[in-house]
Symmetry: C2
Subunit: 119 residues, 2 copies
Amino acid sequence: MSKSLLELTPVQTVACCSPLLHEPLSVDQAERVAPLLKALAEPVRLRLLSLVASHVGGEACVCDLADTFDLTQPTISHHLKVLHDIGLLDRSKRGVWVYYKVRTEALADVAALLGGAAR
Amino acid sequence: MSKSLLELTPVQTVACCSPLLHEPLSVDQAERVAPLLKALAEPVRLRLLSLVASHVGGEACVCDLADTFDLTQPTISHHLKVLHDIGLLDRSKRGVWVYYKVRTEALADVAALLGGAAR
DNA sequence: CTCCTATATCGATAGGTATCAATGTCCTAG
DNA sequence: CTAGGACATTGATACCTATCGATATAGGAG
């Protein structure tokens, strides 16, 4: 099944291969990637990320997000902080509102490691 | 799933397409994917997966793996069970040894959701 | 300044989990 | 059959985290 995985387009030789499946991950690599995956491994955070990304302008304020969930505002705030601290969300305060925006590069890095070969 | 949404050339796919980032994830989707990511979100398990995949024949027995880690055999066995239970590793017993093999489709599914598109 | 609203932080709690030592299961050798 | 080795399971422990209510902070309205 991995025949197509071996055919790489030149441009994506780096980004496209799945290091995870092609050579043993170093301890350092594993410990660097795991926290990113951990931040993603939460249904609420996955939905938050998705909601922010698909919101108008690619960003959303907490007030846009909180109503979607059956959770208190501190809990939403906590999840946003986790995503921001790990580098998956950018944060910018404008007036009273705080806007979050997905850092797509970070997400792409993870995807590339896991299965970039699918591209 | 949402395969019909992704009728793009490989180039476009690389540049832009990520289901997670293009439409809000449903609660169901999020709750289905999160456990997979959770299973991956562990340095030891990432390394195990990587070791199994890059081992000769794409599979490895526990005895091949255990020595690489500074952990007891039950702990390694635990992590392998987590990866197997979630569907990321296949398991086959041959004689006294148990061989594990990566289920690349499962990994590709996750990668596709995060940042790639299945071909 | 005072009040209100948006968001963050704090403290507590309940549930999850990585790890170990001890033990169980199952296969093969003899 | 019995012994030994490969792997899994169990039970205990220590740590982590998702969630809440309460509270803090900070900006805008009046």
